[in-house]
Amino acid sequence: MLQNVSAIVILGLFMFIPLCMGLIASKKLLPTTEDFFVQGRTMGSVAVFFTVAATWWSAFAFLGSNGYFYAQGPVYWTAIAWNLLFGFLYYFIGKRIWFYGRKSNCITASDFFRKLYGSPGLANLVAVVMLVFTIPYLQVQLTGGAYLIEVASGGLIPWKIGGLIFYAVIIVYVWAGGLRAVAWTDIFYGVLLFFGMVFAGFYLAARVGGTAALFRTLKQTAPESLILPGPKGTFGPMMWVSMFIITPLGSFMGPQLWTRMYAVKSSRLFNLMPFLLGFAAIAYIGSMLVGNTGILLEPGVAVADQILPVMLFKYAPFALAALICAGGAAAAMSTANSQIHSMSAVYTVDIYQRYINTKADHKKLIFVGRVAILVFALIAYFMSVFIPGFLVTIGLVAMSGTAQIFVPTVGILFWKRSTSSGAIVGLVAGVFLVCLFTFVPAVKVPWGMHSGLFSIIVNTIVFVVVSLLTPLRSGEVIKAQDEQEAEYEENYA
């Protein structure tokens, strides 16, 4: 009885606090699409750090990291390097995207490509790739979050109901407050998920005598779990490098991160983010300790991603276990709310405003954006209920798919010879290969590489070759970019 009460109180607060924060944020909403989708480009440093970090640390980071350390050896430890790379990309590429976005009033990634390449075809292709590869990733957040709500409630709330609650809360505050509400709630989610990751690791490692004792014992009993390629021999040095490249690139090119580049108030904030985002990677020490403690305490868990909740409910007081699981649900919700919001922007700006109702006013566009939030949430929910097995496979390719957009983005920023034909053919080749390697297991990726990394290499080669073989972009487009680049170099670089 006491257990049920504490579970309801913890989960109740977990749902109620973000709702309040989101609804308070909605009081500041101005009736413009720019304010609803990119917060009027006025986001400050605290909100930027928490919303970027909490958005990019998803259910994969919270549950998946423990599972990797538990079942696959140390390969996930490359995460502390990919956090640094992600932060560096946010400064080096993100600041340029912010600048062009501000100059051209961009709201979505497609706006950026339409402006710099002068190609509606490429802009539409980017919008389609983003929607197709983000929906399954959103569904993965729901599955992880709803599962954690179920275990945190001690089984009181079945995952199908947990999933509905998960989305209902998000829909209410995103509908009301747009990006500002998402960013404010991400501060709450971010604190909870970092606390959950770090505390869980040290708490559970203490059950076996602390960090040093844990690894001394593992060195005797399971040394193969402490070096690459791990106990199953499948995650070696090549996968260490591949994950380091694909994970930050895939997340960085997701529509939710484009929103978080456009929304920033000052270029100076981009200079600070590599340090803050890199430092935040210290939370992975918690995951590393959880996974390795699991090898000692619970060696027979069939689903590796469940090692954290399994150990918490066996070795920690119920209230503490529920609180840490709420931290995991926070990781899922802080990513899902951003994805729903940014996909709504893609539909509203890139499809509805451009092809369905070109004369729609701000009020109408905000209403369409809100309806799109509801529709995308429902699509992800029903997909998770009716075709979960199929989608787990798609979830694995989601990041590799969005990572392909990195090639035309870097191309247009640093190489004048880039053409829209090169970008389109390269992007199609990259996405085709990602799907081929995923859905046709007989086709193996060369040299033990991650399929996403191999696809990016092919994408880059095709992009360069086709760009060299096709005519330059129009002189007008290049001249406009040159002028803006000179301004960037002078005032922001």
């Binding site: 140390p74 430890w77 490359t78 502390i80 390097a81 640094l84 790379l85 932060g87 560096f88 400064y91 602390g210 960090t211 040093a212 690894f215 001394r216 060195k219 040394p223 402490l226 070096i227 690459l228 040095p237 260490w240 490098v241 380091f244 200079n271 600070l272 590599p274 340090f275 890199g278 430092f279 990677a281 020490i285 590393m288 040159d482 680049e485 000179a486 170099e489 670089a493």
Partner: protein, 63 residues
């Protein structure tokens, strides 16, 4: 339509840092009670965080 020597040096150091992080795939010597692959990568991470902080304080080597 400039080069900044400080920025080039900083980017070079960061690039070398990533290359190093990406014979330390072993357990011994254990530092901080962690297997060597964990502790060595952690030390490199700390060095890289310092580079990122220097980047912030110096406008990434531009001043």
């Amino acid at each position: 339509m400039r080069i900044y020597p400080g920025r080039i040096l900083l980017f070079l150091l960061i690039f070398i840092g990533f290359l190093i992080m990406e014979f330390f795939n072993r357990i011994d010597p254990m530092i901080f009670g962690l297997p060597f692959i964990y502790s060595f990568t952690l030390i490199m991470w700390a060095v890289m965080v310092v580079f990122m902080f220097i980047g912030y304080k110096t406008n990434w080597g531009r001043g």
